[in-house]
């Protein structure tokens, strides 16, 4: 105990990192489940169904399968680089998430904010520094496999990621000009308040063009449909990770999903107000939304358990139902308590729950959009991809930047206000 009170930063940081790693890994696994389910329903199929109720244990089974598969290394490949590439891809993707604030900095334990691992002044630049290194995983994997298709995939993805990173960076400068800070907490705090008392002052309202440019470039940056040319299976077998098997392949897979989560988090922070609620503070009923949502999910699961589930699946789904109800009640309790009591710790717990809920909800919405696009759009041709990136996306984001600068300058010249 003495050690904990003497080194609060160290202890809290280690616990935060461990918890975040566990949560992110689980989220990655269930993101694959979500993706398969959503795509399946778009295509009028059921998706994973048999491993656990509604396929809920499928990610676990997949993970075990990856662990026990034989790890094949191509004979004439560059061993060092071949092994380095997946580690690089996954570790960089996970490092980026350490900078994301999942809730307000006012939620503290031992004086340390617990909802962000590392809050640094140049958080935004640092995140871009890490993501700009992400291309190495893909490029080196493609090169070191010593095989045609991976090389083509690696080349394509390096070219694509360099091209779209330009637009990606320029499209968010507009937001930075409006906010005047590179710190994530300040960026989000600057988006509080409302137009006409109910439209949130998020940066997406003045920066809608920037948001669209950012989102398009982010999809290309994470190599997702319709920009998934590095792994276009009809042309390149599986692109840069063709020669990878077993857990090394799984690492690329996880890195791709981790990158999706990172760019969604960044979109949320920059354009959608981060952990801020979309409703004004005076609307007190909004405090019940997180709990009510979970309870509603529980009711849905309960109906499903009783009507359609049979055998072991019924038991599993009953557990899911109980989890939803229990989570819902645990979430509702502080919300109710905060209205009737003014104890500081209740308010803190409630703020934390509300913040994390809205942040997660926004990320999930963006991720759903991602998956929805994968189920809807065909892939670009390579020349279309390049001309779209350089001839449309870059000029539009540049124009957005110039227009934003002009407006910001105009208001600065007009005087404070």
């Amino acid at each position: 105990m003495e050690f904990i009170s003497q080194h609060p930063v160290l202890v809290v940081s280690i616990v935060k990192i461990a918890v975040l790693l566990f949560v992110v890994m689980t989220a990655l696994a269930y993101l694959t489940w979500l993706e398969r389910k959503v795509i399946a329903h778009i295509q009028a199929r059921w998706g994973p169904y048999y491993v656990g109720a509604h396929g809920l244990l499928q990610p676990l089974a997949d993970g075990l399968k990856f662990l026990f598969k034989e790890d094949v290394t191509p004979p004439i490949s560059d061993r060092l680089v071949y092994t380095l590439a997946p580690f690089l891809a996954l570790s960089l993707a996970l490092t980026a998430i350490a900078l994301i604030p999942f809730g307000p900095p006012s939620v503290t334990v031992l004086g340390q904010p617990i909802l962000v691992v590392s809050n640094i002044n140049i958080g935004f630049l640092f995140l871009f520094a890490i993501t700009s290194m992400g291309v190495y995983g893909v490029a080196l994997a493609g090169w070191s496999s010593n095989s045609k298709y991976p090389l083509m995939g690696g080349l394509r993805s390096s070219a694509q990621m360099i091209s779209y990173e330009v637009s990606l960076t320029i499209s968010v400068v507009g937001v930075l000009l409006l906010a005047g800070t590179l710190n994530f907490n300040d960026l989000i705090a600057g988006q509080s308040g409302y137009y006409l008392h109910f439209i949130p002052r998020w940066h997406i309202v003045p920066q809608i063009v920037g948001f669209l440019c950012y989102f398009t470039a982010a999809i290309a940056e994470t190599n997702r449909v319709p920009f998934d040319l590095p792994e276009a299976e009809t042309e390149l077998v599986a692109g840069f990770h063709t020669e990878y098997s077993s857990f090394k392949f799984a690492m690329f897979f996880m890195a791709e999903y981790a990158n999706m989560i990172t760019v969604s988090c960044l979109a949320t922070i920059l354009f959608l107000g981060g952990w801020l609620s979309p409703f004004p503070d005076s609307w007190t009923w909004q405090l019940f939304i997180p709990g009510a949502g979970l309870v509603a999910l529980g009711v849905y699961c309960a109906i499903d358990t009783v009507t359609t589930m049979r055998g072991i699946a019924r038991l599993q789904f009953a557990v899911v139902t109980l989890l939803c109800f229990g989570g819902g009640l645990l979430t509702l309790a502080p919300a109710v308590a905060s209205l009737h009591s003014s104890a500081a710790w209740i308010a803190t717990v409630n703020t934390g729950i509300q913040g994390v809920f809205w942040f997660t909800a926004k990320i999930l919405a963006i991720l759903f959009f991602y998956i929805w696009m994968r189920g809807t759009l065909p892939r670009f041709r390579y020349d279309q991809l390049m001309s779209f990136g350089w001839k449309l996306l870059l000029p539009v984001s540049l124009a957005n930047l110039v227009a934003t600068s002009a407006v910001v300058l105009y208001f600065m010249m007009k005087g404070p206000g």
Partner: protein, 167 residues
């Protein structure tokens, strides 16, 4: 032994090791990787000096953009193992020059205030924020800054003109 002191030596040594690897590696891609390592170590050293903006830009520009182009070109040409040639006679001149340079740097570091402060493990200077840097760049040194930008733009255009195929 303060933490910045240990970090300085760890990353300084790693940077030197990377630089040696860069020259000794026979595969071009290993050289490129070693150079990336050097860039990242330099960024960490900048961070230790309190220049966080420069550190981030170092990684974004050098490790994230320029070295990607290097790796890209190495992949595109699919370069094999380098050939070794006989030791050049001019290398002896280089050895002497390098030795003299090292002596000079050592002498300067031993006597100057900055070197002394680092060697004594003093705390790094107070963080120089991005706002301070931009004030310097866009107020005090606006003209040299813009002139340099135009110079770089001209260089890019020149490279494009030279690289263009005759139609």
């Amino acid at each position: 032994m303060s933490l910045p002191f240990i970090l300085f030596f760890a990353f300084g040594l790693l940077a030197v090791a990377g630089a040696v690897m860069l020259i000794l590696a026979r595969e071009p891609i290993h050289s490129a990787l070693a150079l990336i390592l050097v860039m990242i170590c330099l960024a960490v050293l900048y961070l230790l000096l309190g220049a966080e903006f420069i550190a981030a830009v170092q990684i974004i520009v050098y490790a994230g953009a320029i070295m990607v182009l290097f790796v890209f070109v190495i992949m595109l040409l699919n370069m094999g193992v380098e050939e070794r040639t006989n030791f050049s006679k001019f290398a002896y001149v280089g050895v002497v020059a390098a030795f003299v340079l090292l002596l000079e740097i050592g002498h300067w570091m031993y006597h100057s205030a900055i070197g002394g402060a680092t060697a004594n493990g003093a705390e790094p200077a107070a963080a120089f924020s991005t706002v301070d840097l931009s004030t310097l760049l866009f107020r005090s040194y606006l003209f040299p800054f813009e002139a340099t930008s135009i110079l770089i733009l001209i260089a890019i255009l020149g490279a494009l003109v030279l690289a263009r195929k005759e139609e």
